[in-house]
């Protein structure tokens, strides 16, 4: 029996209790110490900023053990390897340039996928087929079709999948959403979501040049259209290039749009009507081409509207403002505010709606691997969060109001818009 099957089969005998409560790591052994054989063995794919952040987070978990890293940039993977070996006091960590080789290991239980957006679906679907559990960075996918493919694969293989929408594991966001869900501010017809707008470019040279030694640029491009290398194109800055991502909008959809959907209870559906406008700067750069300013309305079947905008247009900058007939609730990182203020002391009773409670996003993932429960940010939810951004982006690109069928996941009576749902991958890549 392969290691990953063994762990799933013996999950509960390791000491973790089953549903409905997630048993924290501290319950698994004295002071959270976990026997080596009971640790969840992880491999990391993508060790840039987010990948390294996740790596540091999981290295701090007593019930996780990282054994392998993969990055197309040798410098990244070697830095990660050093970090891991230093942490464990050994030299065991193995490095890979090609994620497929890492997935071939039979000692893994889970992976962390923190690659750029255009790689998310290919890697996560292959990992699901291998029976691996997955912690993947948001946004869930580069296109709506790729997101749907991830959702289907995860359900099919019973994968425990956590999206890196870690705001869900913060008590202020959860409580704010519970206030809204339980009608504390009356009927909510409008939610205003503020996200960053402009690019946050890290100053790498724009000139076309040969990729540095040790950087497998062809693999970095993967399914994206062929384009020559320039240092400004890849790490971090890929977010501002439409071949790989959708700018700040798609980068942050998995946070504040996700929270707006959570609060409105629309996390398993999507808007039916989308309309808005955005600015794609002309000639601001020779590489970057995503929107820098935007505002669009998403009307839902139940009648409410989620208005997504860049922070310069939002009354409170970043965050989510739920506006109800009897008050408002505002949530942002490290912040919750409400009118009336007394709402902040409100108690959510037993017969009211209690949202999924997680106070540690990565630990929630590890706990769910043992219990086989669904984590707090599963793909069926994160698919809908990023869907809102993709729909807004499409409406803006099309320059017209669009109607959407959330069940069938197609635009209604608009075949041109439906063309945006997926994108051909550069050969030989496929889902």
């Amino acid at each position: 029996m392969k290691r990953r099957q063994f762990l799933k089969a013996t999950a509960l005998s390791a000491g973790a209790a089953a549903f409905p409560a997630i048993v924290p790591a501290t319950a698994l052994g004295k002071n959270g110490a976990v026997a080596a054989n009971d640790r969840i063995v992880m491999g990391f794919i993508g060790l840039g900023g987010m990948g390294t952040g996740n790596l540091n987070g999981f290295l701090g978990k007593s019930d996780a053990h990282v054994v392998a890293v993969c990055d197309v940039d040798r410098e990244h993977r070697n830095q990660a390897k050093e970090l891991i070996n230093k942490k464990y006091g050994n030299s065991d960590c193995e490095t890979y340039n090609d994620f497929r080789e890492l997935l071939e290991r039979d000692d893994l239980d889970a992976i962390c996928n923190a690659t750029p957006d255009h790689w998310h679906a290919i890697i996560s679907i292959q990992a699901a087929r291998k029976g691996l559990d997955i912690y993947q960075e948001k946004p869930l996918a580069y296109t709506i079709a790729e997101g749907r493919a991830i959702v289907d694969a995860v359900e099919k293989y019973g994968t425990v999948f956590q999206t890196g929408s870690q705001q869900r594991s913060s008590s202020n966001f959860r409580f704010g959403c519970e206030l809204v869900r339980n009608g504390r501010i009356g009927q909510v017809d409008l939610v205003k979501v503020g996200l960053p707008g402009d690019w946050s470019i890290r100053n790498n040279p724009l000139q076309i040049t040969n990729p540095p030694e040790g950087f497998d640029y062809n693999m970095w491009l993967g399914p994206a259209p062929e384009t020559p290398y320039s240092p400004a194109r890849c790490h971090w800055n890929f977010r501002w290039i439409s071949d790989y991502a959708g700018g700040q909008l798609t980068d942050w959809a998995g946070h504040h749009i996700d929270i707006a959907q959570w609060g409105m209870g629309s996390e398993l559906t999507a808007p039916i009507e989308i309309d808005g406008a955005g600015v794609f700067p002309i000639d601001k750069s020779v590489i970057f081409d995503t929107m820098t300013s935007y505002e669009f309305n998403c009307k839902y079947k139940k009648g409410f509207t989620i208005k997504v905008m860049d922070r310069n247009r939002h009354p409170r900058g970043m965050g989510v403002l739920f506006e109800g007939t009897e008050g408002w609730v505002y949530v942002n990182r490290g912040e919750i505010d409400a009118n009336p203020k007394s709402l902040l002391k409100s108690v959510i009773g037993p017969n009211e709606i209690h949202l999924y409670e997680s106070n540690d996003h990565r630990q929630n993932f590890l706990d769910c691997i043992r219990t086989r429960e669904e984590p707090i940010a599963p793909p069926k939810v994160s698919h809908r969060s990023i869907m809102v951004a993709h729909l807004g982006l499409t409406a803006i690109k099309m320059g017209k109001k669009l109607n959407w069928d959330p069940e069938k996941e197609v635009f209604v009576n608009n075949p041109d818009a439906n063309r945006y749902l997926s994108r051909a991958m550069r050969s030989p890549w496929k889902l």
């Binding site: 209790a17 076309i208 062929e226 690109k397």
Partner: protein, 682 residues
């Protein structure tokens, strides 16, 4: 009149037609002009023309005539010797506006491996059978990566007619071709595709085998609606005959979701399989149709391991199946702590008012995770009769259990329990009183402020009195207008110094202007205890209004305790939001440091400084890097400030970061200092 109308209508029609024609002309001219500019585009050059074209496409898309005209121009463009970059961009546009008209030029691009991908980018999105046929035609003449790409696109487009052509490539020696063929058949997912995969999976090995099973199951998923028998035969074959566990789990899920009422039996049998399948089967209990008869699964419980039983019980409980209650109650008494915890938590979903006694007693007699589970379950029991039961039991239960019931009344937000809680707040048992006061903070209303004031006066235990202070403050905040009126009146009349001090502290939690006047009067009192009471109250203030009052006490008082209390209060208020800028805050911290005599107070100042964003703050902190008692806090503060202000004076900040790195063993400080230096070097 009629003639005239007709004439007007005709005129209008002509005008509209002329306008429309000129609009088309206008858009076409713009597209043409931009394409001429794009002709010279290459990667790394200005994208201005591309951006303008993308913007123009919004208008073009709105008109079929504009679209057709633009497409025609783009088709011509692709026939020129424009750069690869320019053609790639144009293919992206054709992926949105392209029609059958674009097929010949795009198919032509498929002949060259360099341009095949950009052609497929467009072709994959253009709807219609003509594209399918063109792709099939191109497939026969293609090889290598181009062939892979065409097969992938045929798969994405679910071209049923492609099965025969793709079948030939399933066993190709080129692994990319074989793998794309298998994946494409899974996406096409017809009966014919399934049959091809049925043979292919027998021959495939390693990753190709996994992919073939995945594709075959994909066919089954797609066939469930139209040919359930075929779908079930695929699921069954994978589940029963294949070795790969992920595929078997996927097949089991397929069987369960497709089987309707038979799903329970399938799961019952799966419980006898190996452990991985058993675990998967238990997970699938949550996906059974709503009204499934779960009794066959429940009767299977005895044959499962203890943990297996709990997994299954809790999965059933997750469905809120009351049938699981009896079994859950048995598990609650299990000796294994983890089983007990899981069962207690499950009880919150399947339990009723009958379980209140059990949960309250468990919460009262256990500790740690078991106690937490029992409390959580008691607080979440959704049966409407639970609240009444809790209120009834508060009157009769012994102290420990009563304390749990009172606590839960607050957590459950039982508004009808307020009177009972006010009584409990006078209970002989101090834990009961404490829990009652905590619950009242949420549940009591402004009408009960007098009773809460009396509770403060009568409470003899200082810890519980502090709890009452918090409660009185919280409840008074619910009063509109002058929330402190009643408390001030009571405080002014009160002669007992402890009670008076407590009432003043309750006012501190309100932070209103009228109460501030009262505090100042007490600060000027000759009675040191009253001064201390006022200082304690001012330390709780909700804004920074009393900063100067506290600082005055620090500077002028001769009482050491009063000075320390005031300085601590001053530091607490410094943490509150204010309109001060960071330089102004720095001045206030400098004053605080000047008067701080104890190490703990100095540490508080350093902690406050670490929040600032000015060079002066790091300069001040740096002074303490060599102080044996303070250097640890100074190191952390220096790196945190450095991280915010390094751009203001990189060399100076780098120098301080290097000093921290030379002396510290604090991981957090090391990480932050290194990060700052790295940013400075960049």
């Amino acid at each position: 009149m009629k003639k005239r109308l007709n004439f007007s209508a005709m005129l209008l029609l002509v005008c509209v037609s002329v306008f429309a024609a000129s609009a088309v002309f206008s858009q076409t001219t713009k597209v043409d002009a931009l394409l001429k500019e794009i002709q010279d585009y290459d990667f790394g050059k200005s994208r201005a023309a591309l951006s303008e074209m993308s913007e123009l496409m919004k208008t073009v898309l709105a008109s079929p005539a504009d679209k057709a005209a633009a497409e025609k121009l783009m088709i011509s463009f692709l026939k020129t010797d424009a750069s690869f970059a320019a053609k790639q961009y144009v293919c992206k546009q054709l992926s949105i506006i392209g029609s059958n008209e674009s097929i010949p030029v795009l198919t032509d691009l498929l002949k060259d491996p360099k341009t095949a991908d950009i052609a497929l980018y467009a072709l994959e999105r253009i709807p219609g059978k003509a594209v399918d046929d063109a792709l099939l035609g191109a497939l026969a003449k293609s090889k290598g990566n181009v062939k892979v790409g065409i097969i992938n696109t045929l798969g994405q487009r679910k071209v049923a007619d492609a099965v025969k052509s793709i079948e030939k490539s399933v066993g190709d020696k080129n692994k990319d071709i074989a793998s794309s063929s298998i994946a494409a058949l899974g996406k096409i997912a017809t009966v014919q595709a399934a049959d091809v995969l049925s043979k292919a999976k027998g021959k495939a090995k390693g990753n190709l085998k996994d992919l073939a099973l995945d594709a075959w199951l994909q066919c089954a998923d797609a066939l469930v609606a139209s040919d359930k028998a075929k779908a079930m035969s695929i699921y069954k074959a994978v589940y029963e005959k294949e070795k790969a566990v992920p595929a078997r789990i996927a097949a089991l899920r397929g069987m369960v979701t497709a089987s309707g009422n038979d799903a329970v039996d399938i799961l019952v049998k799966a419980m006898d399989k190996d452990a991985a399948i058993q675990t998967a089967a238990i997970g699938l209990v949550r996906e059974l149709p709503e009204k499934s008869n779960l009794n066959p699964l429940i009767t299977k419980l005895d044959k499962l391991s203890e943990m297996g039983q709990i997994q299954l019980l809790t999965a059933i409980a997750d469905r809120r199946e009351m049938a699981a209650r009896t079994a859950v109650l048995v598990a609650v008494k299990d000796d294994d702590e983890q089983i007990k915890i899981a069962a207690l938590k499950a009880l919150s979903r399947v339990g009723s008012d009958y379980d209140v006694d059990l949960l309250a007693e468990t919460a009262a007699t256990t500790q740690g995770d078991v106690q937490e589970a029992a409390r959580e379950s008691l607080d979440r029991l959704a049966d409407p009769a639970v609240d009444k039961k809790i209120i009834a039991l508060i009157g009769t239960a012994d102290s420990k259990i009563k304390a749990e019931l009172v606590r839960s009344a607050g957590a459950r937000n039982i508004k009808t329990a307020t009177a009972m809680l006010l009584t409990a707040a006078k209970d002989n048992d101090r834990i009961v009183r404490r829990e009652a006061l905590r619950a009242l903070a949420t549940l009591a209303t402004p009408e009960q402020v007098d009773e809460l004031i009396n509770l403060i006066k009568t409470e003899e235990n200082s810890t519980i009195r502090q709890e009452a202070v918090k409660t009185l403050g919280a409840v008074s905040l619910k009063i509109d207008g002058d929330p402190g009126k009643k408390i001030r009146a009571a405080a002014e009349k009160e002669t007992n110094i402890e009670s008076k001090s407590a009432l003043l502290q309750a006012l501190g939690r309100l932070g209103d202007q009228k109460s501030l006047t009262l505090m100042r009067a007490n600060l000027n009192s000759d009675n040191v205890e009253l001064q201390k009471a006022a200082v304690r109250a001012l330390s709780l203030w909700t804004d920074t209004s009393p900063l100067d009052d506290l600082l005055t006490v620090v500077k002028t008082s001769s009482d050491a305790t009063l000075k320390i209390l005031s300085l601590r209060g001053y530091m607490d208020l410094m943490k509150l939001e204010s309109n001060r800028n960071d330089v102004e805050s720095l001045v206030l911290y400098k004053v605080a440091m000047e008067y701080a005599t104890e190490t703990s107070e100095k540490r508080m100042v350093l902690s406050g400084l670490s929040e600032l964003r000015c060079i002066g703050a790091i300069t001040m902190v740096a002074k303490y890097l060599d102080d044996e008692n303070l250097k640890r806090e100074a190191e952390v503060a220096a790196t945190e400030i450095g991280n915010r202000v390094y751009q203001q004076d990189p060399d100076y900040v780098a120098k301080i970061m290097n000093k921290v790195l030379e002396q510290t063993d604090n991981d957090s400080a090391i990480n932050t200092a290194n990060k700052v230096i790295q940013k400075i070097n960049e």
